[in-house]
């Protein structure tokens, strides 16, 4: 396995940076957010999830530290929250072996209650396996009791999910793999609009310990601040014992949700 995809070996890098901090506000503590494979698994605006976690940590009075882990990197210590993105099928092939080599680390963190958000491609690879349309099996790391089967049908469009824990969740899906849940996980919710995990059971995403897995890609957290704050609260409580929230202004998020909900599939 080469250390990086041929695409990323092209030209200079263009990192996103966090907006400047307000130094006048004393910090309640630092939270280390790790992005998994941003180089190869980031096709659908996954940076949005990292940015939302970082900015909301600030708005709640904490200091975010954004770390990233790419193929071949040493795995960082003292991580408080993990996010992993979507990606194309080719990206999944690039990270597959490296991810398998981190299976025990990620499983231990998951069992220990580490908050994690895994979207689309990494949702699939956090499961037991992805069986492609042609029958070959890509093994996952089995953190989640789910399995995914490739299909000819591509599920694309706006989605509204009704979640017992988080209320309505809004997003967009674009995947050909269809995932079914085993008894070891609960669905994140049921779809009111859109397809979700697969075209049969009306379920979307998976919940296990403090992991949220979903097919709603890229911009899941911006329009779903309740989900973002669940991940933040869990990370802060694990590290500092308690969480004192701030008062983020979610008025644009509320309006963006209302307008997204009215858009056709």
């Amino acid at each position: 396995m080469t250390p990086q995809s041929p695409e990323s070996a092209h030209g200079p890098s263009f990192g996103h940076e966090l907006p400047p901090e307000n130094p006048a506000v004393p910090s309640k503590g630092t939270i280390r957010v790790l992005q998994l494979y941003p180089r190869d698994m980031n096709i659908y605006g996954d940076w949005g999830n990292a940015l939302v976690l970082a900015q909301r940590l600030r708005w709640h009075g904490y200091t975010p530290e954004l770390l990233e882990y790419n193929v071949g990197d040493p795995f960082p210590a003292d991580v408080d929250l993990i996010v992993g993105g979507g990606g194309q099928d080719s990206g999944q092939l690039v990270i597959q072996d490296d991810l398998l080599s981190r299976e025990s680390t990620l499983k231990a963190l998951a069992e220990d209650g580490m908050p994690m958000l895994v979207i689309c491609g990494l949702y699939q690879l956090f499961g037991k396996f992805f069986k492609t349309r042609l029958g070959s099996v890509i093994p996952g790391i089995g953190v989640l009791d789910v399995e995914t089967h490739g299909t000819d049908e591509r599920l694309i469009g706006n989605v509204t999910v009704s979640s017992p824990e988080f209320g309505s969740i809004l997003g967009y899906e674009n995947h050909s793999g269809q995932t079914t849940l085993g008894p070891g996980v609960a669905p994140l919710g049921t779809t009111a609009k859109g397809t979700g995990n697969n075209s049969t059971d009306g379920q979307e995403g998976a919940r296990y310990r403090n992991i949220v897995a979903s097919y709603l890609h890229g911009s899941l957290l911006p329009k779903n601040p309740a989900l973002a704050d669940f991940l933040i609260r869990t990370a802060v409580e694990r590290k500092y014992g308690s969480f004192t929230p701030g008062t983020p202004d979610d008025s644009y998020a509320v309006l963006a949700r209302e307008h997204a909900a009215r858009r056709p599939r």
Binding site: H10, P12, H16, D46, W47, G48, G218, P222, K223, D249
Partner: protein
């Protein structure tokens, strides 16, 4: 031989024009009754057919190629109506052929949508193809950008003469390795300009993370060496030429290198030589296509429309047009022609707008845009999802200031419509 389909098709065209109908119906009719019409007509052209495809910049690039070839004295057929589907090409042909079905042209230069180009090249193998880029828009149509790259690969594989490829787009450049028939030419960028063209795969490396060394790149027929405020340097045949440019935006000027490469290949095929000075002169005069980086005058001050369709394009737009001194509006729709998925806004950094803020947001997804700007600490003036009142408020509020509007495709159409209602619109370039 006289084909009955041609007079009938032309008749349908006349009737549908009288009714104010769409441009594709006559194409549909002629396709149905005479499936060989397009192939037969285009096969008579002495220099054959050139197809321009890619996710972004097709319209302006096609316009450039046509004007460059016309500078060489060639008569060019093109699908000017902007209908870049097979049916649209057939309809445009009906408008140009005589009643006996003859097309008086030396070459056809056709802009084709990636997906439709596949059907077209199966019917009419092009002598030339120009493949611009595979950017991350329209994922709601194609699922993955690797899929889009496969569509372009198919166009290249059907090309009989010369394939022109973007050396700097890895998915396009890779197509060369799959070809063994046609000649391959590249257009490229100077190393110093690479950083202004982030590709989609580089989008999310961390600040300060190690930069992988760029692999050795093949020699390009035309290289864009420098982009100035209103001029640019192109290198070809070992000589660097400086030319004034009416086109704005580095992506348009990079596409000029693409157009030059294709136009040089086509005009060179005549065997009578290329008028290099004429090419450069024509290039300096090319104006943007409708709605694409146009500069208008509203209330005596410039108003620029910058079309944004994907993260790379939006980031290039923000880089190409500094915000200082301008009032800014952003109009984001999520209709089919815009792309339904809004996730891509999160792959654009808006820090360049932080100093001046954004005066007005509009479009069906104006609040998604507001939310995006909020997370980049960019101040927002007003938000109104309805384009007409938002545009009026923007123009009223920004009196005495030059204006810039970043807009998705259908928002751009709506803005153009509204602008002509509320003010005299003069197209500058």
């Amino acid at each position: 031989m006289l084909y009955f389909s041609v007079p009938l098709g032309k008749l349908v065209r006349r009737v549908s024009r009288l009714r104010g109908g769409g441009s594709a119906l006559p194409g549909l009719v002629v396709e149905k009754i005479d499936p060989g019409f397009m192939q037969r007509t285009l096969s008579t052209l002495p220099l054959g057919v050139a197809v321009v495809s890619g996710t972004n910049g097709k319209t302006t690039t096609t316009k450039m190629v046509v004007e460059l070839l016309e500078s060489q004295g060639l008569k060019v057929f093109t699908n000017r109506t902007g209908s870049n589907f097979t049916r649209g090409v057939a309809a445009a042909l009906l408008g140009e052929v005589d009643w006996r079905g003859r097309l008086e042209a030396d070459v056809a230069v056709l802009e084709l949508d990636e997906a439709h180009a596949v059907h077209f090249v199966n019917k009419v193998p092009p002598r030339y193809s120009l493949l611009l880029n595979v950017l991350r828009d329209q994922l709601d149509r194609f699922g993955e950008i690797d899929k889009t790259a496969e569509l372009l690969q198919h166009i290249a594989s059907k090309t009989t003469g010369t394939v022109v490829l973007n050396r700097e787009d890895p998915r396009v450049a890779r197509i060369a390795a799959t070809l063994d028939g046609p000649e391959v030419l590249y257009f490229g960028l100077d190393d110093s300009l690479l950083s202004t063209f982030p590709n989609d795969d580089d989008m999310r490396a961390a600040p300060g993370s190690p930069v992988p060394a760029a692999p050795a790149r093949p020699a390009a027929d035309v290289v864009l060496r420098r982009v100035g405020a209103d001029d640019a340097d192109f290198e070809y045949d070992g000589v660097t030429v400086t030319t004034a440019m009416k086109l704005r935006g580095v992506y348009n000027i990079f596409n000029a290198a693409a157009a030059l490469t294709l136009a040089r290949a086509i005009s060179g095929a005549r065997g009578t030589g290329t008028d290099q000075a004429g090419l450069v002169s024509a290039l300096s005069k090319v104006a943007p296509a409708f709605g694409r980086g146009e500069s208008l005058v509203v209330d005596g001050l410039p108003l620029e429309l910058v079309l944004v369709k994907n993260p790379s394009g939006f980031r290039l737009g923000l880089k190409s047009f500094p915000a200082a001194g301008y009032a800014t509006m952003i109009a984001i729709n999520d209709n089919y022609a815009d792309g339904r998925d809004m996730s891509w806004l999160w792959d654009v950094e808006f820090d360049t707008l932080r100093d001046g803020g954004v005066d007005q947001l509009t479009g069906s997804r104006a609040y998604d845009m507001a939310l995006r700007l909020q997370y980049d600490d960019v101040a927002i003036g007003a938000v109104d999802t309805e384009i007409a009142p938002a545009l009026a408020a923007f123009i009223r509020g920004a009196q005495g200031k030059p204006k810039r509007i970043f807009c998705t495709y259908t928002a751009m159409l709506a803005i153009r419509r509204e602008l002509s209602k509320i003010t005299t619109v003069e197209v500058v370039s």
